[in-house]
């Protein structure tokens, strides 16, 4: 047999060992080079070790960072650290209390009659034509360094008149290297209020402010007519300083007035929201140059403020970094708090200058599993608790009090809980023929359903116990909410053994029978009453919830037909008033009962374009609402709220589901943690012990190398029989 004319091949075993050894060496080098010094799983650069940096995560990219548009909590967690409205909520005091931020004091309203004459504080509301707020801001507050303020030697703005070629070369704001700053003035606040009226900025509160700020809507119309048309999709700079309207006025360099049409006592709360933060015209002049928006340089991407932090890296697909603003004015940690705050160590930093941390690095973490694991490894300083991780982190004692599991305590992790100023409710469409209207029959049906749907069970099953059963429209922490026996909904609960107890299902059945639906049967057809439930739980996760809801109605013999859809269609049905029963929620804008009762105010019905999704209307409630919203907190207001609550409980347009409870965890090296559900600018109060964090990270994350050796060993052991067989074959082939 002719021998093949080939190059001689080495024996298979030698070939394997010749390849395997360098491969293993390469793997080891690569692993060591890639991972650096232990801990190898540290996701942050080694250079940051020991630095005073807070590490957190965000799960969703913020849509807007322009305070004129931003209106969601994930956006506020960034911009509230940067922009400073005149007021803020006291970090420690409860109930939530407004205190000055850049203002010298919380402004007191001045009431004027139709002729502009001042009225006394207790003037007849009918005589009040205008309410005026005079806001005085503190002098000496300066903006963060920003290219919009950079000037040349002649005082001309360095970047306000860039050529198209220069703009074409820009990709980020940092491509403009020179920065400047200037003092905050009252004009900046007025400028921002005018921006709220600018039609093309689409402020979500423009409609609301149009109802309250004097001349706001007319001003908006004037702007629409006077503004230049967009060029290539971009609107040239439109200097709002040249246009005035009666609703706002610059009084002097440090004072401005806001005039409200009639009365709107809740307006002062809006002054604590970023909508009313200052905006320097220079920033808008810079970013409105043609081509800037095309290059992603907009106010929606690059905020500019006077707050304790500034956004130094905005890559919401990866990371957002807040760094200490070098020009921040000297705010100090509060010296007063609530009983127990001193014992909890929350007043130890009293009087010390803010902020305490140098930087805050927030990484994008879309999935809850890696987020949670990285928190346990010490790479995030704070975390919420997802449903998946709840049992691992929290346990409830016999009294129902939440506490940490032994594993969490061992790690020194601490738990903070707070009932949110929110409500989830089951709404009945009052326009519906069966469940709606003010007939006795429909009311009894609604009350029966309210008893049958056990939200205590819902909280336990679907919210891991994180919630408090609702007794009325006002959650705890809002003026008017009553605790204890006086606060229970007597149509749904009894007070037993010192706690509210849901009425037995027999009472619900009895109410149903009174309504004419004996055993849940429709007297006209003799078949079980069918009720349609509009659900936004169209996905597989919602199936368990919907099944649970069906069972609640089945207790009464009612057949619940679920119409599951997506959120868009759900909203559409609500707007058109075609739903029958649904669940929805509300998160307070500000801690005032008006912000909840307006959801039940007749003129605010959803089918008329408002937020009253149940389309509920009760003339007495509407009258009391009009009165209550203009009253100061006190016994008189409490009495009105009590009556309103009673009306709503009796009419039952809502079954008051539950007030969600927020649970959050933080590591032992994070200090000054107190949940504040109204304030968004709390980052400045947090302090850290980076040394402890470094030690714990090292202790918790030692690289475990034996698995690498085990994998190699398995591969080698697995290869040996193969080598043996191969050799045998080669030998046999050679025969």
């Amino acid at each position: 047999m002719a021998k093949a004319a080939t190059r001689p091949w080495p024996p298979l075993g030698a070939l394997c060992s010749r390849l395997l050894t360098p491969a293993l060496a390469c793997l080891t080098v690569v692993l060591l080079a890639g991972c650096g010094a232990p801990p190898w799983n540290n996701p942050y650069p080694e250079g940051q070790a020991g630095e005073n940096i807070l590490y957190g995560a965000f799960t969703e990219r913020p849509k807007h960072l322009d305070p004129v548009r931003s209106y969601s909590s994930n956006e506020y967690s960034f911009i509230a650290q940067i922009y400073e409205p005149p007021l803020q909520y006291h970090f420690l005091k409860r109930p939530y209390t407004l205190v000055p931020l850049t203002a010298e004091a919380v402004p007191e309203p001045t009431h004027l009659d139709a002729d502009g004459n001042p009225l006394p504080a207790d003037a007849d509301p009918e005589r009040i034509a205008v309410t005026e707020y005079l806001v005085r801001i503190q002098p000496g507050i300066r903006y963060q360094p920003h290219p919009a303020f950079a000037q040349d030697a002649d005082g001309r703005y360095r970047y306000h008149d860039l050529s198209p070629a220069q703009i074409a070369g820009l990709n980020e704001l940092s491509d403009l290297p020179e920065t400047g700053s200037r003092e905050l003035t009252a004009e900046d606040y007025v400028y921002q209020i005018k921006r709220l009226a600018v039609p093309w900025l689409h402020s979500p509160i423009a409609g609301l402010m149009g109802e309250h700020i004097l001349g706001f809507e007319a001003f908006s119309e004037r702007i629409r007519e006077a503004a230049p048309e967009p060029v290539g999709g971009e609107r040239p700079f439109f200097d709002l300083r040249r246009y005035d309207f009666p609703g706002v006025e610059v009084v002097d360099r440090y004072s401005y007035k806001v005039r409200i049409d009639g009365r709107y006592p809740q307006f002062v709360y809006w002054l604590a929201m970023p909508f009313f933060a200052p905006m320097p015209w220079e920033a808008e002049a810079l970013t409105s140059q043609p081509g800037m928006a095309d290059n992603n340089i907009t106010l929606d991407w690059y905020p500019v403020g006077t707050g304790p932090f500034m956004l130094t890296e905005n890559n919401p697909n990866l990371r957002m970094v807040l760094a200490r603003n070098p020009n921040f004015h000297g705010e100090t940690y509060p010296a007063e708090g609530m009983p127990g705050d001193r014992e909890a160590g929350l007043l130890e930093a009293a009087g010390e200058p803010l902020p305490f941390i140098d930087r805050a690095v927030y990484s994008l973490e879309k999935e809850s599993i890696p987020y949670w694991n990285k928190f346990l490894q010490g790479y995030y300083d704070t975390s919420g608790i997802s449903s998946d991780a709840f049992d691992q982190a929290v346990k409830f004692d016999a009294a129902g009090e939440a506490g940490l599991t032994a594993d969490m305590r061992e790690k020194g992790i601490q738990l903070s809980t707070a009932v949110q100023t929110s409500i989830w409710y089951m709404g009945f469409n009052m326009e519906d023929d069966v469940v709606g209207g003010d007939s006795e029959r429909a009311r009894l049906l609604r009350q029966a359903i309210s008893i049958a749907v056990d939200f205590g069970e819902f909280i336990s099953i679907f919210a891991n116990g994180r919630g408090v059963q609702g007794q009325g429209p006002l959650p705890p922490g809002i003026f008017g909410h009553r605790e204890g026996e006086a606060g229970i909904n007597p149509y749904v609960f009894d007070w037993e053994h010192g706690r509210p107890q849901r009425k037995p299902i027999e009472e619900a059945r009895a109410l149903l029978a009174q309504a004419g639906y004996r055993d849940g049967r429709d007297p006209e057809t003799g078949r079980p009453l069918s009720i349609y439930y509009e659900a936004m739980d169209a996905g597989p996760d919602g199936k368990a919830r919907l099944n649970w809801m069906r069972k609640q109605f089945a207790k009464l013999g009612i057949e619940l037909i679920v119409r599951a859809t997506d959120y868009n269609r759900f909203q559409e049905k609500m707007r058109e008033g075609t739903g029958q029963v649904f669940m929805w929620g509300w998160n307070a804008d500000y801690p005032d009962p008006e912000n909840f009762f307006f959801l039940l105010y007749g003129p605010n019905r959803k089918i008329d374009g408002g937020e009253n999704a149940a389309n509920y209307s009760n003339p007495e409630l509407d009258r009391l609402f009009e009165r209550m919203k203009n009253m100061p907190d006190g016994p008189e207001r409490q009495a009105v709220i009590d009556r309103m609550t009673e009306i709503v409980r009796h009419d039952t347009p809502w079954s008051f589901g539950f007030y969600p409870e927020s649970f959050s965890l933080h590591h032992q090296w994070v200090e000054n943690v107190k949940p504040n559900l109204m304030a968004n600018n709390t980052l400045k109060y947090l302090s850290l012990e980076p040394g402890i964090r470094e030690d714990k990270r090292a202790a918790w994350n030692p690289p475990v190398l034996w698995p690498i050796a085990a994998v190699v060993l398995v591969l080698v052991l697995g290869a040996l029989p193969a080598i043996v067989i191969a050799r045998r074959r080669e030998r046999s082939a050679a025969l």
Binding site: P43, P204, N295, N317, S363, P370, P707, I708, P721, E730
Partner: protein
């Protein structure tokens, strides 16, 4: 060949129009311009006027596909479909509904996608080919049977399982690499190890099985029999003859997916927090940002067509018998 390429490129135009039309119809069956406006403006306190203003500002105030009020050609051109689609053919993706330059975002985000996809492709190819060759070498033995069972099992497991297991074992238990995240420059390396391992391991089942089939097909051919008859060792037959010929379908298959590497991996990027084009697309769908969705679908179609043309060209290169006409 140039005539062939030009013809294929011309064929691509109606395909792209069709893809664009289907994307448009599917998107707007689920979302209306009003829904998009509400998504951008938020849930709270949004007035009808604000919605109409947003639609007008973003060009969604026109009819979707046919403008009955316009005259002549305007009935087709003064529509959302035409206005939003025509620039795509010049690869001008415009701005997203939230105001970002889509082209810039794509240029930024394709690198992280490539940083994962390329190593996964190359390392995966090397491992899959080696493993497939080994199985073929030991065909009809326990190693062959055992490997096929293992590969079928690996194919049957969800990709998500590999991701979660990888994060749990390598990141959480063994503390060898970060569980998730990404960084720029060399710092990115430590974040890529785990997704690349997961990508490679999850692809072994499918890849090796496929390549094993290619090799087995070749190994029964006459030229292999001839090589064996010449007395060549089995190893040499495999490496020198079988591998070379089986590489033709392997390489042409790889060429087809090369352009698509830019598009990223949807789930992997999401779980590992990689800011690539896969997560860009998912985010856009979640945010109902039609401008990004249509841009990404269009880009994907263009790249796919490009991949198919490259495949045809590569056939002519690796197999001289093939001629494009």
């Amino acid at each position: 060949m140039s005539a062939y390429i030009v013809r294929r490129l011309l064929y691509a135009i109606p395909i792209l129009i069709g893809v664009n039309l289907i994307t448009f119809v599917l998107f707007f069956v689920v979302n209306s311009p009003d829904d998009m406006a509400r998504m951008q403006l938020g849930d709270k306190r949004v007035t009808e006027e604000a919605i109409q203003a947003w639609k007008a500002d973003h060009g969604y105030d026109r009819p979707l596909l046919f403008n009955a009020e316009a005259e002549g050609l305007g009935a087709l051109t003064d529509t959302i479909f035409f206005q939003k689609s025509v620039k795509l053919f010049a690869l001008n993706f415009g701005t997203s509904d939230s105001g970002r330059d889509i082209g810039y975002d794509i240029r930024q985000r394709m690198w992280p996608s490539l940083a994962i996809a390329l190593p996964v492709l190359l390392v995966g190819l090397a491992i899959n080919i080696s493993y497939a060759l080994m199985i073929v070498f030991f065909r009809a033995t326990y190693i062959d049977v055992g490997s096929v069972v293992l590969l079928v099992a690996m194919m049957s497991i969800s990709g998500l399982f590999y991701i979660i297991s990888g994060q749990f074992l390598i990141g959480k238990l063994f503390h060898l690499v970060p569980i998730s995240g990404y960084d720029i420059g060399l710092e990115a390396f430590k974040f890529l190890i785990l997704p690349v391992i997961v990508g490679v391991v999850s692809g072994i089942g499918t890849g090796t099985r496929l390549y094993r089939t290619f090799f087995l097909e070749e190994i029964n051919r006459d030229y292999v029999r001839t090589a064996r008859a010449k007395g060549l060792r089995e190893r040499i037959v495999l490496f020198r003859h079988v591998l070379k010929n089986a590489l033709i379908p392997i390489l042409t298959g790889v060429v087809a997916v090369l352009p698509l590497l830019f598009m990223g991996a949807l789930i992997t990027e999401s779980f590992f927090g990689i800011p690539g084009l896969g997560s860009y697309t998912i985010d856009a769908i979640n945010r109902q940002d039609f401008s990004i969705v249509r841009a990404m679908v269009f880009l994907g179609s263009v790249l796919y067509i490009l991949g198919l043309i490259l495949t045809d060209i590569s056939y002519t290169m690796v197999d001289p018998r093939v001629r494009l006409s």
